[in-house]
């Protein structure tokens, strides 16, 4: 179950067999949660670190007018709240986009892993820095790109991120458990505008979006039209290929 995390961290730092075993041992408490549930809400203090083992989650902030801004997508292998060791409370909420499997990691176990396995510590630090880089890219995306490129760019990113953990199929398709409203809340567009862009991407033969599964018809063309430069994901040794 911890394969996605090991695969992801292995891209950032060379992990020994002992490092990998330590990560596997970490995850003893596993829970299943339903789509739409919150893992944790703004203002709360997490009791343990949440590791996403299966499913998609998202960071978000609620606004007083009832609106919502989605700030990040979390996919298998992502740790949701590493900062609980330093910060006292959540400044945003984390919700689930589909049914998910979560590993609950105790603070003590995490601290022990970090102190005994420097390669893991370095990889987790790398992962945290990548999260920040993604946030910077999203900010530039929302602020400076037109709706068509904005959505195409986001889809490219998710294709790459899912590839690095082996969740893109041979036909360049992967599970994208997002509604048009959720996509809109991510890129600052109304669902109507998202719908128009999806239709355009479809008629330009760039994507097929069916039953919450995205097929990218031509990855390099999608990257070109959205001005996507993969370097901000700092992939290290990652192999961006399709799972067989």
């Amino acid at each position: 179950m911890t394969n996605a995390l090991i695969k992801k961290l292995g891209n950032f730092s060379k992990l020994s067999k002992e490092d990998e075993k330590a990560i596997q041992r970490l995850c003893t408490n596993i829970v299943r949660k339903k789509a739409g549930e919150d893992l944790i809400r703004e203002g709360e203090r997490p009791g343990s670190v949440h590791l996403l083992l299966d499913g998609w989650a998202f960071r978000y902030k609620h606004l007083p007018d009832g609106g919502r801004q989605i700030l990040a997508y979390l996919i298998p292998g992502d740790i949701c709240d590493m900062h609980i060791f330093v910060l006292r409370q959540m400044d945003h909420s984390i919700g689930l986009l589909n049914d998910a499997v979560i590993g609950l990691l105790s603070e003590d176990a995490m601290l022990e892993l970090l102190s005994r396995h420097p390669a893991v510590e370095r990889a987790l630090w790398w992962a945290t820095l990548v999260d920040e880089a993604v946030l910077r890219e999203w900010l530039a995306n929302i602020g400076r790109r037109d709706p068509y490129r904005r959505i195409a760019h986001l889809l490219c990113e998710m294709w790459v991120r899912m590839s690095t953990i082996g969740l893109v199929s041979g036909q360049d398709s992967f599970s994208l458990p997002l509604t048009q409203a959720e996509l809109g809340d991510t890129v600052g567009l109304t669902p109507v505008t998202v719908n128009r862009v999806i239709q355009e991407l479809r008629s330009d033969d760039l994507i097929i979006l069916k039953e919450k599964r995205l097929t990218v018809r031509d990855v390099s063309r999608l990257m070109k039209v959205s001005e996507f430069d993969v370097s901000y994901l700092h992939l290290g040794n990652a192999d961006i290929t399709r799972a067989e």
């Binding site: 609106g67 006292r88 409370q89 109304t190 669902p191 109507v192 719908n195 128009r196 239709q199």
Partner: protein
């Protein structure tokens, strides 16, 4: 404030081409577009807010008709900024509890 409408063709990159300018006292405050594209499903026939000018309230995504759009413009224009409540900043930013 008098609200008026002016029809205009609009390029949305979709089948939605029936645009409507919303004017308040002769000044442009919003651009709407009637959703005609079959891809919109249940929302077909409603008015999508493409953009607004000078309104402090966030509009809904769509209006069921032009009357409700006019009503929203009136309410938005009447919406004042919150008044200063006399509280010093220090108490508004009270230290969080441990």
């Amino acid at each position: 404030m008098s609200i008026s409408f002016k029809q205009i063709d609009i390029n949305t990159g979709s089948q939605d081409t029936h645009g409507m300018l919303v004017l308040s006292a002769g000044r442009l405050v919003a651009v709407l577009c009637r959703l005609d594209d079959v891809a919109h499903g249940d929302k077909r026939g409603t008015w999508h807010v493409e953009t607004v000018f000078g309104m402090r309230q966030m509009p809904p995504e769509t209006f069921p008709n032009l009357d409700s759009a006019a009503e929203w413009v009136r309410l938005s224009e009447d919406d004042p900024l919150p008044a200063f409540d006399g509280q010093p900043i220090a108490s508004a930013m009270a230290a969080p509890k441990l």
